[in-house]
């Protein structure tokens, strides 16, 4: 995998991803729900993609809402 400009946050389910999307939007962080890259997980769901510069802030927003993050990867 070649490093790009994004970070993806893996969460447990689509419902969690949708909650994350709302929480990040409220915090003013642009994000997009994308299919989970096969290299990261065999799950068939979606994950949350943010700009790499927003990585730490995004993690903090989800942590504050007690939304558990399964994994964080730069892509």
């Amino acid at each position: 995998m070649t490093d790009g400009d994004y970070t993806v946050l893996l969460v447990y389910s689509t419902s969690h991803a949708l909650r994350a999307e709302k929480l990040l939007a409220r915090a003013g962080i642009d994000c997009k729900l994308i299919p989970v890259p096969r290299e990261l997980s065999s799950d068939c769901g979606v994950c949350v993609r943010v700009g790499r510069e927003e990585r730490l802030r995004a993690e903090q927003v989800l942590e504050d809402a007690e939304l558990e993050i399964e994994g964080v990867h730069n892509v």
Binding site: Y12, T14, S15, L18, R19, D43, C44
Partner: protein, 405 residues
């Protein structure tokens, strides 16, 4: 004074029943008509979205998932549930109550309930009793009132849960959920509430009321379509202990053949009723916009007028506490010398008034109020009913009572 919810809704529902000339008083069974936004959301889902929520990552699957999630958020806001992911959707409140009761209780556990419950609670409890769960049914007064002290007195060392309907579906009497919630907290018990008759029509605050598990229906006072409802799982509930009623595909953890252990997926196997939940979201947002307090005030006014009018008719007996502030907009009565089934038929055929007669799936409640096995005639009002409809119904019942007397 601001516009009453009924008037607002009548405008929002083209061809509403006032124009059709019939009076729909069966809202305690299911509300009708629905706000126009409910139908619009369902049509929009079918025409423009249509994909399976949470089962793929393409744009329309994500949109479908987002619509379902936004319904979760709206429900959580209405009932002050801190986390929308603790809102578990189900086909109806009966499924939700079964999940909470059958999923949580084990042989040897003791559970307390009231003598004014619906069969959605009594039937699962009687089955659990057969399997070794101990059950205490606390008596209610003939008007349906429950003394919280009697609940506390029934608690034992192995009591794990108190289950109550928030309001009787037969006489509308509101049970002292907050007081029982306080007792449950103090004694380390879970409080499971069946909000079928109150959700959207009476204020419910999971935190302030001390409710651990809340079963709700989508198609009554939340004004969504049938086939929607759910269970809110509070923070004090051990999710590991709560077993799902069904297991299957969730769109998550697909590499594993083991059921996910997190909310809401653990309890939501199989494709969701997304079109229904899109409608439910619109219904809940309508309730939030109108305001539960305002809906409640309008319904209480209609209810008191109905109670006072029926009580004034010779030969009519009204059941319950006869005080609108202590009950929902559901009024049960009987006409002396005429069976409830006959009253219901005559109201429908001769007066275009639709209501429900009989036992209302609640034999225990009818035993409590003294109307088993014949039952009662039940008028279930909604925020869109009007004073003139109540007056028409009073005149119709008056005619029947005079004829029967």
């Amino acid at each position: 004074m601001s516009q009453l919810p009924g008037a607002a809704l009548a405008q929002a529902v083209p061809g509403s029943y006032e124009e059709v000339g019939v009076i729909y008083f069966d809202n305690a069974a299911t509300s009708w008509p629905k706000p126009a936004a409910v139908k619009d959301a369902m049509v929009q889902f079918l025409e423009e979205v249509g994909a399976n929520p949470g089962r793929a990552a393409h744009r329309r699957a994500v949109t479908a998932g987002r619509m379902v999630y936004e319904t979760r958020e709206a429900v959580a806001e209405l009932f002050n549930a801190p986390d929308p992911l603790r809102v578990v959707f189900a086909a109806n409140v009966t499924e939700a109550m079964n999940l909470a009761l059958v999923g949580y209780l084990r042989p040897g556990d003791h559970v307390i309930t009231s003598a004014i419950e619906h069969n959605a609670v009594m039937r699962p409890l009687r089955e659990l009793e057969r399997r070794g769960v101990e059950l205490t049914v606390v008596a209610c007064a003939p008007d349906g009132a429950l003394d919280p002290g009697d609940v506390e007195a029934a608690a034992r060392s192995n009591t794990v849960m108190v289950v109550l309907n928030h309001a009787s579906n037969v006489v509308g009497t509101i049970l002292p959920v907050q007081e029982v919630g306080e007792i449950a907290r103090r004694r380390g018990l879970l409080l499971l509430v069946d909000a079928a008759q109150t959700g959207g029509a009476y204020p419910i605050d999971l935190v302030a009321d001390g409710i651990d598990l809340l079963g709700f229906t989508g198609h009554k006072s939340l004004h969504g379509p049938m086939g929607t409802g759910g269970l809110i799982v509070g923070e004090r509930v051990d999710v590991k202990r709560l077993r799902p009623l069904k297991r299957g595909g969730t769109g998550s953890n697909s590499e594993l053949e083991k059921q996910p252990d997190f909310l809401p997926d653990k309890f939501e196997s199989g494709t969701a009723n997304a079109v229904g939940l899109a409608g439910l979201g619109a219904g809940v947002r309508w309730v939030l916009a109108e305001g539960v307090e305002r809906i409640r005030a309008h319904e209480a006014k209609l209810t008191q007028h109905m109670i006072d009018g029926l009580t004034a008719i010779d030969g009519v007996t009204v059941y319950g506490g006869l005080t609108a502030t202590r009950q929902t907009a559901t009024v049960s009565f009987n006409v002396e010398g005429m069976m409830p089934s006959e009253v219901g038929l005559r109201l429908d055929e001769e007066h275009d008034i639709m209501c429900r007669v009989g036992l209302h799936c609640s034999p225990a409640a009818h035993r409590t109020i003294g109307t088993f096995p014949d039952g009662t005639v039940r008028f279930g009002l909604s925020p869109l009913n009007t004073m003139s409809e109540v007056d028409s119904a009073l005149a119709a019942v008056g005619e029947l009572a005079q004829e029967a007397g």
